[in-house]
Subunit: 402 residues, 2 copies
């Protein structure tokens, strides 16, 4: 039995980023950049007015009011024709090119048109350079604006568009296959018979994966016999990652371990000092990662978050793969006394004093319903006696924690 | 000019959840439930073995070792045939029905098979009830297991599957249309000419929306003339929400406000005491929400997070619509002196002492590149002089903050 850290490290050591590909910028959200992105232009590409108003020479309006002759109107997108000289001004719109000669833009609110707009009365003085965004102040032509391995969020999409990247170089996202095993499982629509329960793991696992990838296939339910399991796993080995649940504990009918060996899967670990989730198997077959997770729904859920999700992130090109921990003050005394590290469904919230966390009511690793009241997992270290109320504990966030 | 709170409240007051529809459970991630979900079964549906081992009567093994006769083997999914009586045991697998008569399950690790498995030697005593999950302990038939308005995360997907819900009642997600305005804008692939910049807002807005909805259409760039803007907005009013950027400041060529009035859009506000993002317009036309956001990329980005995203959440059926704030200690002295409330790009991180936050370098509302270094926005209250280093400040999280 190995530690959670060692297991997580073994998974990442045996996982690598998938090959790069080009995708349309409109599809790029959530991918990781495969190459540095370099700007092909200065931004702004010209001295740019940040206001609607008048481009002036600051010295001309040092003793307001000052009357200036309006020589032209410069709208966004057009090129100015004239040069602003002493005693003159150009009417200008936000985003337009500041004309030569002008050194500042006075807001329209600080002016009054005179003589039908052929002249302008400037009511306030202005600092030289005011309301002008200088060419290149945000980006320089040739500058690396986004580094390889960066995750593409909405703001990165905006930057990609602004530097003209229509096709983005990203790492490919993995394809995922999901198999549930167990003679007790029936499909959602089937009639419940004694001893049977519905297959829920395939659906929760698929949803966990679909938070970050698109190509997720629920391959099916494998009954507890070697032939079915073998043929299903074989077909799943065409995916980048194959996730099984169930069939890995000590029961006589748990063929999965045997089948993996026969299929030539290199198995790196079969048990992790973890609760819930001890019987977690990780292996590799050619380039396919294979995770055989325990069948109890909360164990399946937790082991996906701990081992599968970081591997998916690494295949996608991320450098920050493991789910981050944050600190929160526990709201109650909590007795531990577990030999294995525990990941305890809990609820974290913002209080006036900072973040606090409380375990939710939970009946154990089969009780998925309780996790619908949870937004995080408290990490309870191995061999801990107890947490005392108010103690800062590590918390792994799930979706939408706040 | 109205406050950020008032503006956000006006948006939510004029937004309602869209009509419910049924979707396949495989597509349900991220939707909000339109109806309470009731369990059609007890969970577990029978007294369920939590271990691989032997179903026994605890009294029989009170003084170990104890030899018991093995009367049958019960695998997961099958119905037991015999009743466990004194001196007898049934071999049992995880997930299988505990047979009548047995009151506990002893782990296989605590036993030894005897006489070719026809008998078993139990090496430890056991507490009555141990390793048995009682019928109905996690869910009761008829119990509301998930309440209407709950967001469907992976764990909710699992629960839906386990209670047999193949088609889920959810609120429909809104369709979103996006228009950028401005004569200075060109499409990503076009050649840059003097005075022009590329349209980036349409892409960053689309990505912001695509984090939560699927039906997002970039309608196009509207040049600064009334006819084009009118016809584009008209076509966009077929969406559930239409987002414009640019064309709402005081320039002569900003027709948007005028066009909205002519089209019969009821405008609720046109300016918000906010930085960046003052010229933000919110209106409604029949059931279509209309947001005309400022054109500077960071202002566009921030106003989407503050006003559009909460409205989308409300249309999707969420009861918690506004983006939550959390507290973090600011890492430096920060001078404010702004009359309007500021949302300042910043970076929050976990430190040994808790969460801390620091503003990122930022040149103002046109500088989208700086926001690629940010994972949150610091909320700087109106009329504040300064934050002192170490002071707890409100932080609005963006994607992947930790």
């Amino acid at each position: 039995m190995i530690s959670v850290e060692d297991a997580a490290q073994i998974v990442l050591d045996n996982t690598k980023a998938l090959e790069p590909r080009k995708i349309d910028i409109k599809e790029s959200l959530g991918f990781y950049l495969a190459k540095d992105v370099v700007s092909d232009m200065d931004m702004p590409p010209f001295n740019r007015s940040a206001m609607d108003g008048y481009a002036v020479i600051a010295g001309d309006v040092a003793s307001p009011p000052a009357k200036l002759k309006v020589i032209e109107t410069i709208t966004a997108g057009m090129q100015p024709e004239c040069c602003v000289e002493a005693g003159k001004a150009a009417k200008i719109m936000t985003g337009a090119i500041v004309p030569e000669g002008a050194d500042s833009v006075i807001m329209v609110e600080d002016t009054e048109p005179v003589c039908n707009g052929t002249n302008v009365k400037v009511l306030k003085d202005i600092k030289k350079g005011k309301n002008i965004a200088l060419m290149g102040e945000d980006m320089r032509k040739g500058q690396v604006v986004l580094k390889a391995r960066k995750k593409i969020r909405p703001q990165e999409v905006g930057v990609l568009a602004s530097v003209g990247v229509k096709e983005v170089d990203v790492f490919r996202k993995p394809s995922i296959g999901i198999i549930s095993t167990g003679d007790e499982l029936i499909e959602i629509g089937e009639e419940l018979k004694p001893g049977k329960i519905r297959n829920s793991n395939s659906y929760s696992l698929a949803a966990q994966a679909m938070r970050v990838v698109d190509d997720v296939e629920i391959i099916g339910i494998a009954a507890d016999n070697k032939e079915t399991i073998t043929s299903m796993i074989k077909s799943g080995l065409e995916k980048d990652a194959l996730i099984l649940s169930g069939g890995v504990s000590m029961g006589d009918y748990d063929f999965v371990g045997e089948v993996l060996k026969e299929l030539g899967v290199e198995v790196f670990f079969e048990k992790v000092a973890l609760r819930p989730g001890k019987p977690t198997v990780f292996g590799k077959h050619n380039n396919t990662l294979l995770f055989a997770l325990p069948g109890n729904p909360v164990a399946t859920f937790v082991t996906f978050e701990l081992f599968v999700l970081p591997a998916i992130r690494k295949m996608m090109g991320s450098e920050k793969c493991e789910s981050p921990l944050i600190k929160a003050a526990i709201e109650i005394d909590y007795k531990a006394k577990k030999k294995r590290r525990e990941f305890r469904p809990a609820c974290v919230r913002q209080n006036s004093s900072g973040l606090t966390v409380a375990p939710v009511e939970w009946h154990g690793s089969a009780d998925l319903l309780s996790t619908t009241n949870a937004n995080c997992l408290i990490v309870v270290p191995e061999n801990l006696e107890k947490f005392e109320k108010g103690q800062m504990v590590d918390v792994m966030l799930l979706d939408d924690p706040f």
